[in-house]
């Protein structure tokens, strides 16, 4: 086995072009498990933790660009990241300086609350300190915790190769169980997300709060700016999927009753039907973590809850106040 450690994106893309079978590794939370248990013996391991272009995040033309090497702990605001040269962290090697969040890490949590909620449910502190959003996408597990929130937010995935760069809409990214639209010579570079114009929510079912692969998960985003509702279902279909009929139904119901403007209470019938449509959009199976029937049932419950929570947030904060706050925070960074 060969171990390649590129120090720049150009080097990394050249390496991937020369060895399309090379397995990219960042936080190692998926790849190392396969290596430790001899489930995988790649000829080339491509370490991406020293590619500075993959680290950190920025605001560009009003959109957030989150580098593929951003860790779950950076998304939640718990920690700084693993990518880059390791400077500026842990001066004494004992963690006292390691609270050192990357620039504006807390800001990322405030700007992308749905993704932060999802990242917070990943594994344990140790796992969140290593695992990355790019790795989550690269593994493309139907149970990947970021995916429902990325679907709900309408994110895009930037991938690159020696041939060039392209952007894949998130709802065209997942092509099968642990399969994605990333070509063999491509690397996931970043995720692009518009700062939300309304509240976001995420909920996940598991046997405990930590160290749990989702039995079912659901992400929801209200987009009052566009009068749309975004959804994402996790762990209940061969890939993470949107509940398109549920999105269309609830957006129409909100429009027809003038609720985006009035902010009045959501009719119970709308919430119930939304839950039923989300459940119907799933294609779950029975497995060791739960039955298909339980997943269908729990998805309806998660959908109803997250919609009620998000609507309650929307009623409380108001579109103008929230959008203003987001813009202010963006300027602070």
């Amino acid at each position: 086995m060969e171990f390649l450690q590129p120090g720049s994106l150009v080097e990394a893309l050249a390496a991937k072009a020369a060895s399309p079978d090379a397995v990219p590794i960042a936080g190692g939370t998926d790849v190392m498990v396969e290596l430790n248990f001899a489930r995988r013996r790649p000829l080339v391991l491509l370490d991406l933790t020293r590619v500075p272009e993959l680290a950190g995040w920025s605001l560009q033309d009003g959109r957030l660009r989150v580098g593929a090497g951003v860790t779950y702990a950076e998304l939640t605001g718990e920690r700084g990241g693993i990518s880059g040269n390791g400077l500026g962290r842990g001066a004494d090697g004992l963690g006292r300086a390691a609270g050192g969040l990357g620039p504006g890490a807390g800001g990322l949590r405030r700007l992308l609350p749905g993704l932060a909620m999802a990242a917070r449910t990943v594994g344990s502190p140790q796992i969140r300190n290593r695992g990355t959003i790019g790795g989550n996408l690269g593994s493309a597990s139907p149970a990947g915790d970021c995916h429902p929130s990325l679907l709900a937010a309408g994110a895009e995935v930037e991938v690159a190769s020696a041939r060039g760069t392209r952007v894949i809409p998130i709802d065209g990214f997942f092509t099968g169980v642990k399969r994605s639209a990333v070509a063999p010579d491509e690397l996931i570079i970043a995720v692009w997300i518009s700062p939300p114009s309304g509240p976001e929510q995420f909920a996940k079912i598991g046997t405990r709060n930590a160290m749990v692969i989702a039995v079912a998960a659901f992400g929801l985003a209200l987009h009052p700016g566009r009068r749309l509702v975004g959804t994402g279902i996790g762990s209940a279909a061969p890939t993470p999927v949107r509940a398109r009929e549920a999105e269309t139904f609830v957006a129409a119901a909100l429009d027809e009753a003038g609720l985006w403007d009035s902010r009045n209470a959501l009719p119970e019938s709308v919430v119930t039907e939304f839950g039923a449509l989300v459940s119907a959009a799933s294609r779950p199976i029975d497995d060791v973590r739960g039955t298909a029937a339980y997943r269908r049932h729990s998805l309806a419950v998660l959908a109803r809850r997250t919609l009620a929570w998000a609507w309650s947030d929307y009623q409380r904060t108001g579109l103008a106040g929230r959008a203003g706050a987001v813009a202010e925070e963006a300027e602070e960074e």
Partner: protein, 188 residues
């Protein structure tokens, strides 16, 4: 493949490293530092928790080459250079938080990190910080006691200095964990 890293303040080098092996394997089998324990090898149990550039991670999930040139602190690095235990270690002994001991190294690093960031954590914060460290012996209550005790002592001392606390009267636990006297060793 050669891997060079600073471990517990000392520069270590390992040769003939297989690129697919974990940092945990390098530490235990090539650098003579068996404190970090190898249990699940999939990041579930936390027994191999170490600091990598100041951030607690599972050493079993770090590829050997990823540690090249990095700064690592293992459980062996928590005690003072004179061998005096860190207050977190002392508290684990006194509170009875150590039974079989296999999870202890990882819990010590995780607890050490928590108290470095938050000198006065609420119980819920302690549970969250230690959520990635499994213990099958203690039922966790004694571990929570130990973290509370260490936090109180560290706050009392002002800063999180890696020095041993003033020795209190040895508790039964402490006595039973102490090295046997030469006489006892001779009898055994």
């Amino acid at each position: 493949m050669r891997v060079t890293a600073t471990v517990n303040g000392v520069r270590h080098q390992a040769d003939d490293v297989w690129p697919g092996e974990s940092l945990l394997f390098v530490l235990r089998e090539r650098m003579g530092l068996p404190g970090s324990k190898n249990a699940c090898e999939q990041g579930e149990c936390g027994s191999c928790t170490i600091y990598l550039d100041g951030i607690p991670v599972c050493a079993c999930l770090v590829a050997a080459g990823q540690a090249q040139g990095r700064d690592i602190v293992t459980v062996e690095g928590l005690a003072g250079s004179d061998g005096s235990l860190h207050p977190v270690q002392q508290a684990f002994i006194e509170a009875g938080a150590v039974q079989c001991g296999f999870c202890t190294p990882g819990l010590l690093v995780a607890a050490h990190d928590l108290l470095a960031r938050d000198p006065d954590p609420a119980d819920a914060d302690v549970r969250e910080a230690l959520a990635g460290n499994l213990c099958r012996c203690t039922g966790y209550e004694k571990i929570l006691d130990a973290v509370r005790l260490a936090a109180a002592r560290l706050r009392g001392s002002g800063v999180a200095v890696p020095a041993a606390p003033s020795p209190a009267a040895p508790s039964p636990t402490e006595a039973s964990l102490a090295a046997p006297s030469p006489a006892e060793a001779g009898e055994a």
